[in-house]
């Protein structure tokens, strides 16, 4: 389903935002931005509710008073309420597009995708009931059109649309809609959001402060420049002619002027099911889950802490070993990223006790022993001056394409799969420098791989790279699959640096406790 042009187009857009925003790139924070916009909607909604009169006769007038009599407060709050809701929908759609374009919805990640699709509709219906409450001609149009849609379903008796012709509406109708908009739908949404993130660990719901402030200021400026206003009051004896639709929420309604309500339902439900089924459509990718070798696991729980998908749990020791805990992998949740291998301090290539290198938690497709063999093979294959080994991520730039006589790439599932001791191993076994090329900075196909890796090298997260390893011989350079030039520039700069600093560096390297700076990170 996913095509390379979509991915390339998306990566180009992301690149532009990286250039402008750096680590605040909004495309890396679409989920948290959506949460932030909901906070704005909640606060502004509470303010509006204080002044809103929830009755058929009073609703419109109260909204007009809020909008015009206190434009400096209520008017801005109303506009913020609308624009933050619109921005939230935009973020949700971009969020879905991003996960699709970058193929982050297959395998064990099906759950987040599958539970995320209905969220879009929940938010849309929440917005629809919000527009309904204004009870202007737009609300009338939405109410009548929604009633037509409901009448097409075989679950209701009688005609709902007829209620909007006879003048049979009462304040009870408003109480129902108010209940839905203010309590029922938001509670359902919170519950659904909890489901959506349930299989993720370390869930963050706050965007970076700078991005949050920028977004809030932008919405505030928009609210002042273009305040949200109502249409003429609802009048059931006339048909609204021209409507200024909010296309973020109300785009489905014009279809009713061309198609039957039944066909609109078929289209809507069809698209929803298609979206929900995407994780099971080709290309299907399912890596074998991680396996635990209790013999080499001392129950330190670091893999449990590091797993981005909550696939690892901790339980009491079952093998009689003198450790309190052991870890267990839930194969259904494991995304096969290998970050746990990088977390395990048993993943140490210097160990020589057994012929085959074993670790506490390993990946069947690329065991740590095979990782060591590939590293040794890469080191042995290099000739000439300034040998550089590049550990790459299979979801970033393909580092094997950079191979030359003195440069070799080794591809891992994720840069977070690289145990820090492998860096020291490579440096001691002949590499003059090590480049770690994961996904783009601030992004990671497996959520936290490059972040954990960087912290391990900086000594901020176990297992740490030993302090005596010269950080100046290590470069972290993220790059997507389209970022060849970025990696090449980093490689050439690093090579030049290594050549220029060779004399000085050797003297540093001989001293214990080298610098913790990562000069090229």
């Amino acid at each position: 389903m996913q095509s390379a042009p979509i991915k390339r187009a998306y990566l180009a857009l992301e690149n532009w935002f990286n250039y402008s925003f750096g680590s605040w790139n909004p495309l890396y924070h679409l989920g948290t931005l959506t949460f932030f916009f909901f906070w704005i909607v909640l606060v502004s909604g509470i303010y509006l509710f204080i002044f809103f009169h929830g009755s058929l006769d009073g609703a419109y007038d109260s909204v007009e008073r809020i909008t015009h009599d206190q434009w400096y407060a209520g008017g801005i709050m109303r506009s913020l309420h609308r624009y933050a809701s619109d921005a939230a929908i935009g973020c949700i759609i971009l969020h879905m597009f991003r996960e699709f374009a970058l193929d982050r919805h297959h395998g064990a990640r099906w759950y987040s995708w599958f539970t995320g699709v209905p969220l879009l509709w929940m938010v849309v219906t929440l917005g629809i009931t919000g527009y309904w409450l204004v009870w202007d001609q737009l609300a009338q149009y939405i109410a009548v059109s929604s009633a037509h849609l409901m009448d097409a379903l075989p679950i209701f008796f009688g005609s709902m649309a007829r209620n909007f012709l006879e003048g049979a509406l009462s304040d009870r109708f408003f109480i129902l809609i108010e209940f839905l908009h203010l309590l029922g739908q938001p509670m359902l949404l919170v519950f659904a959001l909890w489901f959506h993130v349930r299989r993720l660990s370390n869930v963050n719901i706050n965007p970076p402060m700078g991005l949050a402030i920028g977004s809030l200021l932008a919405l505030l400026a928009l609210s002042i420049a273009k305040p949200a206003i109502s249409h003429a009051p609802a009048d059931l004896t006339v048909v609204p002619q021209v409507l200024n639709l909010d296309w973020f929420y109300l785009n489905i309604y014009p279809l009713l002027d061309y198609w039957s309500a039944g066909n609109v339902w078929i289209l809507t439900i069809g698209i929803t099911f298609l979206l929900m089924l995407l994780p099971w459509l080709p290309p299907r990718k399912a890596g074998a889950p991680a396996i635990v070798n209790l013999q080499y696991c001392d129950g330190c729980k670091q893999c449990f802490e590091d797993c981005p998908f909550d696939a690892i749990s901790v339980q009491a020791r079952t093998d009689g070993a003198p450790h309190e805990h052991e870890v267990v992998v839930d194969g259904a949740l494991c995304a096969a990223c290998g970050i746990c291998v990088g977390s395990c301090h048993s993943s140490n290539p210097f160990r020589k006790a057994e012929k085959e290198l074993k670790t506490g938690i390993d990946m069947p497709q690329l065991p740590v022993d095979e990782m060591r063999k590939r590293t040794i093979s890469a080191l042995d294959s290099m000739e000439g001056d300034v040998k550089i080994i590049i550990f790459g991520c299979q979801h970033g730039f393909d580092v094997t394409k950079l191979g030359s006589n003195n440069t070799v790439g080794v591809t891992l599932f994720c840069s977070g799969m690289l145990p820090p001791s492998f860096i020291e191993y490579a440096l001691r076994k002949g590499a003059e420098g090590v480049i770690i090329a994961g996904c783009r900075h601030a992004d990671c196909y497996f959520r936290f791989g490059n972040r954990w890796m960087e912290k391990r090298i900086k000594g901020e997260r176990p297992p740490v790279l030993r302090s005596k390893v010269d950080r100046k011989r290590i470069v972290i350079q993220g790059g997507a699959e389209t970022d060849r030039h970025v990696i090449e520039v980093a490689l050439n700069d690093f090579r030049q640096y290594l050549m220029d600093s060779r004399e000085n560096r050797h003297s540093i390297h001989t001293e214990p406790g080298g610098s913790k700076e990562i000069p090229h990170a």
């Binding site: 990286n18 624009y83 935009g90 949200a228 004896t237 048909v239 409507l243």
Partner: protein, 165 residues
């Protein structure tokens, strides 16, 4: 990673423009200019397909006391056929079959059409019984002046017949 604030402002301006524009534009014309809408909508139960039958005294005696009743009425009802003509031309037409497992429910008719504003002559005809010989057993005619964007609601009441609202 470097942050370029002037470019961020440019991006925020694009974001504001997109949100601000699509929150209320482009305007959508739901009803063409100079048009009105005629809605024919009512709930009505068709007449029983078979007439009620008087239960004889012998039959009554065979029934349990709480089940005795003077007449027995088959549940199935007639379909409701309705047709609206505007200026002697067919405008809306449907045949609604009674819902329910036994075909004994009332039907809900909701038909609408967009028409040019102005004076029109409407004729409404309905048949709600398969037992009558004529094609329609309810007929109503009226001339109405429709203003642009007006919604003319035509209702039906079994006691008073068709109503223009």
């Amino acid at each position: 990673m470097r942050k370029r604030y002037p470019l961020q402002i440019l991006n925020y301006l694009v974001f504001m423009s997109l949100v601000g524009y699509f929150s209320s534009a482009p305007a959508y014309r739901h009803l063409p200019e100079g048009q009105a809408v005629v809605v024919l909508a009512f709930s009505h139960a068709g007449q029983h397909i078979e007439p009620c039958r008087v239960v004889s005294a012998e039959e009554q005696a065979k029934l349990a006391p709480n089940m005795r009743r003077p007449t027995e009425c088959p549940r199935a009802r007639s379909p409701v056929k309705v047709e609206l003509l505007m200026d002697d031309q067919p405008l809306l037409k449907t045949v609604a079959n009674p819902p329910g497992l036994f075909g004994d429910g009332g039907v809900d008719i909701f038909l609408y059409a967009t028409v040019p504003a102005g004076e029109h002559h409407f004729t409404i005809r309905m048949n709600d019984s398969v037992r009558i010989k004529e094609e329609y057993n309810h007929t109503y005619e009226k001339t109405a002046q429709l203003a642009p964007a007006q919604l003319l609601f035509i209702d039906f009441n079994p006691e008073t017949g068709f109503l223009f609202k």
